[in-house]
Amino acid sequence: MTTIKNQRPLARRLRATLGKVGRILFLASAVLFAVVPILWAVLTSLKSPPEVALYPPTFLPRDWTLENYRGAVFYNDTFLHYLFNTAVIVVVTALICLVLSAHAAYSVARYRFRFSGGIMFAMFSTIMIPGVAIVIPLYMLSVKVGLYDTVLVLILVYGAWLTPTLVWLLRGFVIGIPIELEEAARIDGCSRLGAFYRVTLPLLRAGLLAGAVLIFANIWNEFLLGYSLVQSETARVVQVGIYANLTEVGVQWGRLTACAVTAMVPVLIVYALLQRAFVQGLSAGAVKG
């Protein structure tokens, strides 16, 4: 009995230590796997062009320089214009999308009406349409109606693309708000719409924030539709701008990685500021992604 008592804690402690070491090693290698591609691009972007083309490669830059950023980003009006385009599209789409989907979410969360089940099913089923499945008709239709190669077509397409997911997300938030609050407002003389604007909408803030983050992350990182529906540099978005650099003859990896790192920064900043809303929004949007 006593021997068992003496041995067991030792074996258990040994196993616990081994488990701990194993876990640390596992997490460390996973972190390396996640971070190394990003880190390598950041380091590349900080090297001078001749150093980028060295083999064997240097790990840390010999002379740290912002030359690539100056040439490819800060003093490159075209790339700045792509960033500006993308920002405008994000803001306008977010406004349209949030307004439309807040109303729609309220409607499907609070009312059961004729065809409501069918309409909801049809709307949510579009979440399952992958971009690549409708990119060809969108291209053809946008040429026909004269919206091809404009910022407007991207706003419309991104709006329709993200609205169902947002309705789904916000519907959950509306259901979480006690209906008694609206009833109290109604008794106090509010109209239905008034009760929605004055009582429900302010309480949806967390949901609207998660929705805004979802819109931002998805549009900022979108490539396929931005590539297919826009041709000229005037309306080009940032991901397509990066791709255009990549397909140039004789890729300049220093400049290219500088552009890629720049495109990552806004998303990282928003993530740092709004982690909770970010994960919430990205998880909801993962269906669409």
Binding site: L27, T126, I129, N221, M264
Partner: protein, 306 residues
């Protein structure tokens, strides 16, 4: 009285007809703008794609009716069946790495430890990077001429095949890039589910003498299985429709060895300008998505019923 009762209330209809009509219209009016946008920009195109898939397009017009020929062309010419196989390998490979890895990371992170928040953030980073940039990062890391990966691996004695010219290595590299991007989603989903597992339950099992393995197998796993399934399905759908990773890293090469269905749709439409053939592939992708989702919903439902 709830709002739902209000609009169903027969007594209201008797008293005040016009008012009742306004009440009935209210939910429709709230829904209409969103619905119209979705109808115009989602329903219409998918319908258009289905119609176009039976016509041979010319100059952006519908063109002439060709029946199933576009489908035949998509699947049977220019390595069509190869693209189907490549899509399968790409999706299966992504799942085979991302799901176990994401799951294991969630388990490892689901206990207090120093720097936990930082580690979690670093592991989430790939989720924040666009697929296009992610592909570019991996392409640069494995670049046969200047890349860090070939250099390091050759230094430690492991050979590194050329990811542009070697078919197997090309497929492996796009799968790794795809799994890299997909792992955080699995991790975040499973971690969220793990945090809902009641600690008392695990504690009670421990006191009753259940080994860690038994506790995991009989308590934790059943409670997070549905979430894991959801993450698995999202990951497959996402990988299946992904164009960017293959487009950027290999362009479908060498010699079609990494050309997936999604990339083939893209190329048929925007490189070869065969919009009808591309539409046929697009419709096929859409239908496979729908069937996969429906099968999955059914599985989840029967599990809930059981």
């Amino acid at each position: 009285m709830t709002l739902i009762d209000l609009h169903d209330g027969d007594e209201l209809m008797m008293v005040d007809r016009p008012r009742r009509r306004r009440i009935a219209a209210f939910p429709y009016l709230m829904l209409a703008p969103a619905f119209l946008l979705i109808a115009g920009v989602s329903f219409l195109p998918i319908g258009y794609a289905i119609v176009q898939s039976f016509f041979r397009s010319s100059n952006l017009n519908l063109g002439r009716l060709v029946g199933w020929q576009n489908y035949g062309d998509f699947f049977l010419t220019r390595n069509g069946l190869g693209a189907v196989a490549n899509s399968l390998i790409f999706v299966a490979g992504t799942l085979a790495i991302a799901v176990p890895l994401g799951f294991a990371l969630a388990l490892a992170l689901n206990r207090p430890m120093p720097l936990r928040g930082l580690i979690r953030t670093l592991l989430i980073l790939p989720w924040l990077v666009s697929n296009l940039v992610g592909a570019l990062l991996w392409g640069w890391l494995g670049n046969p001429q200047y890349g860090l990966a070939p250099y390091v691996l050759e230094k430690i004695g492991v050979g590194f095949p050329n990811i542009i010219t070697d078919p197997g290595a090309a497929m492996a590299s796009v799968v790794v890039a795809s799994a890299w991007a997909a792992t955080p989603l699995v991790m975040v989903f499973v971690l969220a589910a793990l945090q809902t597992v009641p600690i008392d339950l695990i504690e009670a099992a421990r006191i009753d003498g259940a080994s860690p393995w038994q506790r995991f197998w009989s308590i934790t796993l059943p409670l997070v299985r549905n979430t894991t399934m959801v993450a698995l399905v999202l990951t497959s759908l996402h990988a299946f429709k992904s164009v960017e990773i293959v487009l950027v890293m290999t362009g479908g090469g060498p010699n079609g060895a990494t050309e997936t269905m999604a990339l083939k749709v893209f190329k048929e439409a925007f490189t070869l300008l065969r919009l009808g053939v591309g539409s046929a592939g697009a419709v096929a992708i859409f239908l496979i998505n729908v069937m996969f989702t429906m099968a999955f919903v059914r599985v989840l439902r029967t599990e809930h019923g059981a």
